[in-house]
Symmetry: C2
Subunit: 337 residues, 2 copies
C-alpha cells in the first residue's frame, strides 16, 4: 500500500510556491506555474499536479529554463498576437497575452496567439478552459519531444502533440477536452515499465520498428499515434501549425535542442480563439442552447462528457482537499533541502 | 468481373454537366458541383466521383436542393465571412467566398468562413487544397447526418464529421488530409453489407447498442468514432464549431430535417484560414523549408504522406483518364433518359 497524505489546495499551492522559488524561478513565474500545478492536482490529473515539481526542478537544474524571462508580445497582424516567452515557462506568457487574444477575437471575430520560445510541461486544458470562461471558443496545440512514429513509420518524429478544445456553456463550467495524439501518455508506458507489466499492442514499436508489448522497448523505440493514420495526420498538423507556422521548433528539433538532458520540451504553442458573437450577433444565447441539447444527447446515452471526470474531481478537491502519495511528497520536499 | 470503361477527364466533366443540367441545376451550380465530382474521380476517390451524380439526382428529386440558389455573403466581423448558400450546394458558395476568405486571412493574419444553409455531399479536401494553393494554411469541417454514437454511448448522435487540413508547399502540391471522425466511411459499411461480409468490431453497434460485426445491423444501429473517446471528442467539436457556432444545424437536426428522404446532409461548414506571413513576416520561406524537413522525415521512414495516394492517382488520371464501372455508367446515363 502506498501511504497517502491529505492536503488542502492552499497547502498544495504553498508547497509549489516554496519549491519553485527555491529553484530560483522569478515570482511571476512561480505564481503562474503554481496555478497550473494546483489545477492539475485539484482536477485529479496527478501526472500534471505536484509530480511536475520534480520535472520543473530537473529542467531548471539542467539550465533549460530561463528563470526570470520577461516575455515580449508583438502585434504581428490585426488578428494575431505573438508572445516570445524568451526561454521561460509558457504559463506567464499566456497570462500576459490572454486579454490581448480575447480582445482581438472579440474585435475581429477570430484571433490567434502564438507563444514562442517557451518551456512547456503542462496540460493544455487550463488555457482553453480560461478562454472558454471568457466566453470564447478555443483550440490549442503544441508539439513536444520526438517520441512518436508516424503511421507506417518506424522511428520517433512527432511529439505527443496534444489538441485541446474549449466551448463556453451558459451555466456551469465549459466543455473542454485535451487529448494527446499519441495512443497513450508517455507516463502511462513508464508506469507499465516500472511495474513490469506488458503494454497492449498499438502503443509502441521497439527500436527495430517492430510492434512490441515490452514497455522498456517502446520507450527506447517509438510510441504510436492514436487512431492509426488519422491520429498520425492530426499529429503532423500540430507539428506544422504550432511549429513552422509560428516560427518555432518541431518535436524533433526540440529533442535535439534538449541534448539528452530529458528536460521539458521547448518550442511553441498555438491558440485560436473565436467569439461566438462574431457569426451569431445577437443570437448567441439561442445557438449556445442548441449546443446544450447536444451535450444532453450525449449524457442521455450514459456517455461521459470529456471534462466530466475532471470537474467531479475538482468539486471533491475544493471541499476535501487532495490525497498525495507520501513518497512523492518526500521527493518534492527534498528539493527544499 | 465488373466491366470497366475508360473515360478522359473531359468526358467525365461533360457527363457530369449533362446529368446535373438535366436535373434542373442552374449553370453556376452545375459548373461548381462538376468540378468536385471530376476532382474526386480524377484523384481515385471513387466514392466522391461520378457515383455522386446518383446521390445528387436523388437529393434534387426529393426536393432537398434549391437548384438555382443565389448565395448571399455577409461581412459579420472583420476577420469573418458568412455566406448563406440558401439551400443550394456548398460548392458555388465556397467559390464565391474563397477570395474574400483569402483576402481577410492576408489582411488580419487569420480568418474564418462559414458556409451556412447548404447541401453538402462532397469531400472537404478540394476546399483546403484550394486555399493551400493560395498559400494559406486551412482547416475545414462539417457535420453530416446523425449516424455515429459518442464513445460510451449506444445511439447515433454525431455525423461522420470530417476534419480536413491543407498546408502550402513551396514546390508541388499542398500537404492535405481529410479524415472522417467515424471509424470508417458509411459507404464502407454499405459495401460490406452488399457483399455479405462481416465488419470488424469497432465499426458499429447494433440497434440495441451492442458491438456488432453485422454490417446491416450497424447501419440500422450506430457507427462508431475512430480512436475511441478521442475521436468522439473531435466529432463533438465538429458538431459545435460547424453547427451552433455558425448558427447552423447539428447532425441530429440535419437528419430530422431530411425526414427519411435519405438525401445529402443539410447544414454548415466552417473553414479557418491562416496566412503564414502573419506570424512569420519575411521569414515564410525559411520556416516552410523546415516543414519540408518534417515531410522528408516521414517519407524517409517509408511512411506515406496523407495526400500522396490521391496525388499519384491524379498524375495517372491526367494522362490515362479514369476507369469507370460500366454498370455505374449505365445507372448514371439512365438519369438522362
Amino acid at each position: 500500500m502506498t501511504a497517502m497524505t491529505r492536503m488542502t489546495l492552499d497547502e498544495v499551492r504553498a508547497l509549489s510556491e516554496m519549491v519553485l522559488a527555491r529553484q530560483g524561478l522569478a515570482p511571476e513565474h512561480v505564481a503562474a506555474v503554481t496555478e497550473t500545478i494546483v489545477a492539475g492536482e485539484r482536477d485529479g490529473c496527478t501526472s500534471h499536479g505536484i509530480y511536475r515539481l520534480l520535472v520543473c526542478a530537473h529542467s531548471i537544474r539542467n539550465g533549460k529554463v530561463v528563470r526570470d524571462a520577461i516575455p515580449i508580445a508583438c502585434d504581428t497582424a490585426p488578428a494575431l498576437v505573438r508572445i516570445d516567452a524568451r526561454g521561460g515557462y509558457a504559463q506567464h506568457a499566456f497570462n500576459l497575452s490572454r486579454p490581448v487574444l480575447a480582445a482581438k477575437a472579440r474585435r475581429h471575430g477570430i484571433a490567434a496567439l502564438a507563444i514562442t520560445n517557451c518551456v512547456h510541461f503542462s496540460a493544455l486544458w487550463p488555457e482553453v478552459e480560461a478562454l472558454a470562461s471568457d466566453g470564447l471558443v478555443a483550440l490549442a496545440c503544441t508539439p513536444s519531444h520526438a517520441w512518436v512514429a508516424p503511421a507506417g513509420g518506424t522511428a520517433p518524429l512527432f511529439g505527443t502533440n496534444p489538441i485541446a478544445f474549449g466551448w463556453p456553456r451558459p451555466e456551469g463550467l465549459p466543455f473542454v477536452f485535451d487529448l494527446a495524439t499519441s495512443a497513450v501518455a508517455r507516463g502511462e508506458i513508464e508506469l507499465h515499465r516500472r511495474e513490469g507489466r506488458p503494454i497492449p499492442l498499438g502503443w509502441g514499436l521497439d527500436p527495430g520498428g517492430q510492434p512490441t508489448t515490452d514497455a522498456a522497448e517502446a520507450l527506447a523505440g517509438a510510441m504510436l499515434t492514436f487512431g492509426g493514420h488519422k491520429g498520425s495526420a492530426l499529429a503532423a498538423m500540430v507539428e506544422l501549425i504550432a511549429g513552422p507556422l509560428i516560427g518555432d521548433l518541431t518535436s524533433r528539433e526540440s529533442l535535439a535542442r534538449d541534448g539528452g538532458a530529458k528536460a521539458s520540451p521547448i518550442g511553441g504553442e498555438l491558440i485560436i480563439a473565436i467569439d461566438p458573437a462574431g457569426f451569431l450577433g445577437p443570437n448567441v444565447a439561442e445557438h449556445l442552447a442548441r449546443a446544450e441539447a447536444l451535450f444532453e444527447g450525449i449524457a442521455a446515452q450514459g456517455a461521459r462528457l470529456p471534462s466530466q471526470r475532471r470537474y467531479e474531481a475538482r468539486a471533491r478537491s475544493l471541499i476535501e482537499g487532495v490525497l498525495v502519495s507520501q513518497a512523492l511528497l518526500d521527493d518534492i520536499k527534498a528539493l527544499l533541502g
